[in-house]
């Protein structure tokens, strides 16, 4: 559940972009940062290596404005995708409200996608997260490339929760905002009283 500060009339949700190395998590965040109204965003913070691979996380705060008297914010994070950074991924997942799993659609990246997907659910389980409490979206990225999986095949492999699926090309922005909108709506719906 989100952090609600009733005194400040403020609610904060945490959304994490997850996926294997070079699948396009940081590209999603960078596109959002470039295209969103500057008044609605804070500073983009990246902790990356010299080769611009994410070392710890990228962070971008977004403000939705005031809804029913509550200033509503979404804090977007990415995790480092490379397999040896699992300790960092666990830390970034703490207190998560929604996850965007960014899949690299290329057939050659099958093993990395599956490993990352299993690793996500292992880490959530370790933190006692109930998937039913989380917003989850599967973004199939790099749909513009050749030699890619069909949507049906990737869905079967990487979507055991039956979450919404969005096709994207993060580099050009296709599907980036649709993904963000979908996960934001999901986390709000999950946090609201049923």
């Amino acid at each position: 559940m989100a952090l609600i500060n009733l005194a400040a009339r403020e609610i904060n949700y945490k959304i994490v972009y997850y996926g294997c190395g070079l699948c396009g998590k940081t590209t999603n965040i960078q596109y959002i940062h470039r295209r969103v109204n500057p008044n609605a965003r804070g500073r983009l913070v990246s902790i990356a290596t010299e080769e611009e691979r994410t070392l710890y996380f990228d962070f971008l705060p977004l403000s939705l404005g005031t809804v029913k008297g509550l200033r509503t914010r979404f804090h977007l994070y990415t995790v480092p995708g490379q397999s040896f950074y699992n300790a960092s991924r666990k830390l970034v997942l703490q207190g998560v409200d929604g996850v965007v799993f960014v899949a690299d659609s290329q057939i050659s990246r099958l093993d990395e996608n599956v490993d990352s997907y299993l690793n996500l659910w292992d880490n959530l389980r370790e933190q006692d997260e109930d998937p039913a409490d989380l917003g989850v979206v599967l973004q199939m990225n790099k749909r513009d490339l050749g030699s890619i999986f069909s949507v049906t095949d990737l869905t079967e492999l990487l979507n055991h929760t039956g979450s919404p699926v969005i096709e994207a090309c993060a580099l050009t922005g296709v599907g980036v905002f649709e993904t963000l909108k979908t996960v934001c709506k999901q986390v709000i719906a999950k946090s609201s009283r049923s």
Binding site: M1, A2, L3, I4, N5, L6, A7, A8, I11, N12, K14, R35, V36, N37, A40, G42, R43, V45, I47, Y56, F57, F59, P61, L64, G65, V67, K68, G69, L70, T72, H75, Y77, A87, S88, L91, V92, Q94, G95, V96, D128, E129, D130, D133, T172, G173, V174, G175, V176, F177, E178, L180, K181, C184, K185, I188, A189, S191, S192, R193
Partner: protein, 165 residues
Amino acid sequence: MARRKGLVINDDQMQMIDGVLAKLQRVAGSNFVALVSTSGQPITTAPPDVDADTLSLAALAAGSFAATRQLAEVLNEREFTLLFHEGRDTNLHVMQVTDQILLLITFGHETQVGRVRLYTSRALEVLKPIFEDAEDSTEGESFVDKEYSGEAGSAIDDWLPKENA
């Protein structure tokens, strides 16, 4: 699996928290004091109008503290409960209040570290039970309801630019 705990801070609790922070800032000779969640979200600061990017500060401090805890595990130490950064002009001291809350305190070289640690420890004793109550609260449910969800959904539709527009 148990439904995970939320954190809902009400007006009375925030008034108490802000009082503790204001006093801590004054007696410890601190530039500013902040409370953030371990998931990286800012809660409050003293003074309230602090000239710092509190959103980035919260995300980075929480990340840094979480990494410190992992370092303790790697070194077979039960826990490192505080984090200290010494700067040329400003020092930053981060301490854990509860599982979900961290306290950040900045101060200059004219202030002794021991003094900061002493007053911070006393403040933690007062802050801890307040946040333990906030962590068990269901008070937010009356605010974050179906009406909020519906309004937020419409706001999200108008919020972001159209694809490739």
